[in-house]
Symmetry: C2
Subunit: 213 residues, 2 copies
């Protein structure tokens, strides 16, 4: 049983300048392993290599060590999330309520579509190997801050349009709203079926955004 149980065909070597392509393929392989329903323990250096159809040591040309792979996955998915939120906001027009629900639902949808990825991103198990300079706490915090700023913007718009009760600290309200969304998204990502009513999301958003009835 040495060979290729899954999808591994004799890999075509990349062209001269395109060695970096493999880096993306490695990340994609890691993500694929997650999406297949395995938890993060299924994402080992060797399993990723198998999935990508390469030999395990070939990874070291692109990543310093195993945690670096997870780190890259997290960063990529964080970027994807931030982009999705911005996009949802911009496609939502100018009505504040529509914007609010668009952004929040985009967040929840992404988490629901890829629960394992969400778990990795916010589950706190990717153990930053501090010597990886390509990404750091600052990166992630700034990304979170970006999403929070977006939320705060939308909340302010709600107040400005008179559909929500104001507050002296919209950023703080954004944090609270995000925490609620995160609680729901994470719990959905973890358990097979959530207890509670179907409109929990709406209730959370309405309450935490202080929307007027």
């Amino acid at each position: 049983m040495v060979t290729a149980v899954t999808t591994t065909e004799p890999r075509k070597r990349n062209r001269r300048g395109e060695g970096g392509k493999l880096r993306e393929e490695i990340i994609a392989a890691a993500v694929a392993l997650l999406d297949e329903g395995g938890d993060e323990r299924a994402v080992t250096l060797r399993s990723v290599a198998r999935k990508a159809g390469i030999a395990a040591p070939s990874i070291y040309a692109h990543f310093a060590d195993q945690p670096s792979i997870m780190l890259a996955v997290v960063q990529q998915e964080m970027d994807r999330l931030a982009t999705a939120l911005r996009e949802a906001d911009q496609n939502a027009g100018t009505d504040a309520r529509t914007r609010l629900f668009a952004v929040c639902n985009a967040y929840l949808d992404l988490a629901r579509e890829h629960p394992q990825r969400y778990r990795i991103m916010f589950g706190g198990l990717w153990t930053p190997s501090v010597d990886d300079t390509s990404i750091s706490d600052a990166d992630l915090e700034s990304l979170g801050a970006e999403a929070l700023t977006l939320l705060a913007d939308v909340l302010e718009a709600c107040v400005a349009q008179g559909i929500a009760h104001g507050s002296d600290d919209p950023y703080g309200d954004a944090v609270a709203l995000w925490l609620g969304l995160h609680g729901l998204a994470h719990q959905r990502a973890v358990v097979r079926k959530m207890p509670g009513p179907a409109d929990v999301a709406e209730r959370l958003i309405t309450a935490l955004a202080h929307l007027k009835p």
Copy 2:
């Protein structure tokens, strides 16, 4: 608190009827490993055995396999949590607002005191080995349901005392409130420092319980 799991001294064998004691010591050892700041990967069958001062195979007399240990830890900590919540409620007197904050803060405090345990409980990584009959999904769900019922009770009391706006579905509101608490507790358990204002907890509770200003 089961004590003396710190170092590896030649273990005193248990008396005739007290073989079951080791089971508790094993769980305690696993919890200790978590509390030492290691994540769940640090809790291997062998590391637990080392911590408990016994030989690795000796665990099999008390647990079917390694995941069963984690499962037992989760159940124990879930019990502890439920007890703490009930206790906080009963010590809070009859004022609904006081009861509400007492229960919620008890939840948050416990999570903050033992972040790694909290992560294990709700992180969804303990991979139930289905053949373990001593605990099951039903157990955990019923436990969650118990906590939720408690929350719903307190919320109804708030409405009854006129300090919160009513709702046609107090249980649903309890779920929403719990999700908010969970989001905060989990995020605190995962990252070293939370962004946002210091009174996020109060804001979450106030908003999700629909407390009147």
